[in-house]
Assembly symmetry: C2
Homo-oligomer: 575 residues x 2
Amino acid sequence: MTYRAPVSDIAFALKHAAGVDKAIAEGLYGDLDEATIDSVLEEAGKFASDVIAPLNRLGDTFGTPFKDGTVTTPPGWKEAYTSWAAAGWNGLASPADFGGQDLPHAVNAACIEMWNAASMAFGIGPVLTMAAIDALHAYGNDDLKDRYLGKLISGEWMGTMQLTEPQAGSDVGALRTKAERVGDGTYRLTGSKIFITYGEHDLTDNIIHFVLARLPDAPAGTKGISLFLVPKVMPDGTRNDVRAHSVEHKMGIHASPTCTMVYGDNGGAVGWLIGEENKGMLCMFTMMNRARLAVGLQGVAIAERALQQAFSYARERKQGAGGVIFNYPDVKRMLLTMRGLTGAARAICYATAVALDRSLRSKDDAARKAAHERASLLTPVAKAFATDIGIEVASLGVQVHGGMGFIEETGAAQHYRDARIAAIYEGTNGIQAIDLVTRKLPLEGGKTVALYLDELRATVNAVRESNSPALGETAARLGEAIDSLERATKWLLAQKSSASALAGATPYLRLFGNAAGGCLLAEQALAALRAGDGAGRTALARFFAENIAVQANGLERTVTEGADSVTNAEAALAD
Amino acid sequence: MTYRAPVSDIAFALKHAAGVDKAIAEGLYGDLDEATIDSVLEEAGKFASDVIAPLNRLGDTFGTPFKDGTVTTPPGWKEAYTSWAAAGWNGLASPADFGGQDLPHAVNAACIEMWNAASMAFGIGPVLTMAAIDALHAYGNDDLKDRYLGKLISGEWMGTMQLTEPQAGSDVGALRTKAERVGDGTYRLTGSKIFITYGEHDLTDNIIHFVLARLPDAPAGTKGISLFLVPKVMPDGTRNDVRAHSVEHKMGIHASPTCTMVYGDNGGAVGWLIGEENKGMLCMFTMMNRARLAVGLQGVAIAERALQQAFSYARERKQGAGGVIFNYPDVKRMLLTMRGLTGAARAICYATAVALDRSLRSKDDAARKAAHERASLLTPVAKAFATDIGIEVASLGVQVHGGMGFIEETGAAQHYRDARIAAIYEGTNGIQAIDLVTRKLPLEGGKTVALYLDELRATVNAVRESNSPALGETAARLGEAIDSLERATKWLLAQKSSASALAGATPYLRLFGNAAGGCLLAEQALAALRAGDGAGRTALARFFAENIAVQANGLERTVTEGADSVTNAEAALAD
């Protein structure tokens, strides 16, 4: 069982859950119409299904052998990458002034899902290149842009994103890599980085590293960090003073080389400043937000891949008097849970991408600002909810397979292994939850989140007014979920003790994802009903509301009543 | 980080959650006293921690190479197994008349947890030997017992349990392996079996296979299955006509050889009947119930191992201004969740073992029967709840490690991979939930489960009467969870449509586990308070009640209100 991109599902979610239909109607996307979007998605789906997906299992078994400082990608990967880049996929949402196609981030998000569903290990490389492009475009000087943007956008070269050091993981401010001013406008970097995705490989002739480092006179912490562009190969064709020291042996995404990088064996790697000195975190946040949404899409992607495989197996596997296992209620519950969670996470990620588009394309400042805040609010939810459910759905996928799920040749196990990293990298899901609670809820004094809750309530009202019997208790259950979310939000905003708020951050994020995801599935059900073809989407929205959204009350109580038992639990945490 | 058996925690759970204290007081265990139990556990803990645990990672990387029909276990495994058996651990709870020590199953359960926490791949082998011993002792004829029981109990030989065939997984009745009567009291078996744990290996000179097969004139389905004892090496020292054909490449428990077995290359493997012809399922149920409890203990075991590693990492990993990550509320929530779920699952498994002991040792028939029903009720919960939380806790363990959790050398990833199988083998967790709902709830017209709910309520009352401020809202939350469990139970018992009941089986089992586990943690908290050392256990019981037991309402609604959205979801399950 390989992957077939669910193009019509994806297009439907883009239009009717994420609101691409409204954005088009408002003229946000210029003369782009739905038919053009459909054909882009169709082509992307073909490439993902036909070219990338067949490489996924080989990538898992071959890995990325490392020898004498070089990484060998699996057979066929370079050819696939080259033809992928040649088809223009890397620059889909990149600026037109450097060769990109300037299509909406929403459309690119759908494509990112497809590349990653075809193969997470393949998809993560371009994700980082795209993030690097955004940062360089926003903050690089003209000289750097002229030299690097075109080739990064075309995919001729790839980019990396280098934050982590052994003592500086979630705490980026603790990094020690040094950058010294040379006086000619360049810098010399010395130090090392760990966990660098695609830090070294043979897919492209050059690799452009985006590296956080610290100047000798920099203030401590995150206010003393600068961002540098450090090419593997210098403009004159010589090798820069940076190399991969080793490649990690990981549980999953084996075909994605995760490298330890060393800078300055011979006096320092040449780097060029991006943005201003000591303002590297500002530039990096641009990269991180794009990358966080993309990693959320990886969660959707691996969930979609796992559910396709589980559906296929369940339809073929004969067992007992019921015929195939697909017919058993307990298996149906697993399959519906997989599909419901995947659809909810997809809609949240796409909605985040549309908010990002609005933040860049809306006509007036106020609309751009509001959209930026919406994107800021949703990004941690998109990242953490989608990657959490990626793990859960992949685990259910193994379970549907029974004993075959534990056998590597079947492929279900690979999804379970691959899925696990997405909840960790680009900011662990705990960090996302803390970001949501401590930075995003207080945006505009709570107005940003309040406006979003109003939108969710409008969906619930529309469901109620539809009077559709097929939607069962959807309106009631989603309404209760939003009540819970609203109360939990208010409670968190009122906390004087940050420890109490932090203790509830993770269950709060899940509550947010369940409520928002449920509403976005319901939006799609309503749109399908209007189109006269609502049976599948109403049944899924109803399942989600009646079986998953009903966790809201328990999650709310965990947030609002459970904090004290966490923050005063020293005795329970003792040896 | 390796494993240190939490002997005092285990002893406390045995005595005060599972009720070994009461069983001793009633004279159920003869002259066995708590001090003797403590010293047995102490010795087991030493062996598990010092001898087995260090082999776990090597077992993962070495696997079980298969060549020319033979399996090589990892370096050091044979020595460890031999000294383990020589110390008498294999026969701890086995009948004294064949060399066993006849200690309680409850004590053996605690030891099984420790062997499996030290290494799941090591522990699963003896689990199957022990199950085979029980079946042979209960149903074998004297001749077979004389020939095989002693060596199985001493561990000189190991046993296997062979049900599964490609077309017969959860549906055991579909198996096709043939057994023909020879006329001399022996049978000749032909066919093949898959997924046979420790089907071939070099730990012992002989392997005694317990094989389900079908006689030529057998009725169809499970009523036509017979159980045979088929030794790898015949009494005269020649090889029997059975061999391993291949060994699976699995996601985890790499050091446990999972074999495809072939019977009858040369006319048929010689087998001896256990029990009566066509009554094999009866004998197999004895094996299965023991094995199911043991697999539940594997879930506890891998959770305990994962949590120890996560606690250790969190205490050492410095990050940010808070010092070590252990101090962060979000990390505390993860660690408390790990410890709470593990403690709850442990208590449920041990309580099941005590019920098993009572079913065998109680003085009068009525008490034995009631205990048998209690054990029957709890076994599917012990198996499925404990193995589900084993996966969740191992996944949290990876998350606590951040990026290091995804690197194989750290070890957290192995637990995540290993844990996954326990929810599948010995009856998938879906099968356990269906067993609970369709066979166990109706026991004695619902009286068995009603009596158990009464016991849980008594715990809640005791918590309330303790008036302990440290227990916070424990009584209220657990009381609500039992209310939910009771309503869901009644609803399930009243269902005319089996599909509706089956659709809610899995969330019902989780509700059961959460409520029962929460009460058993509270029992331990009360016992600790009485002993004047209650801080840790009250804090943990409170965390569980206020953060995990509060899921009860959502789970109840999923069971009682969500069924229709599962059974009438064809449209949502379509392509």
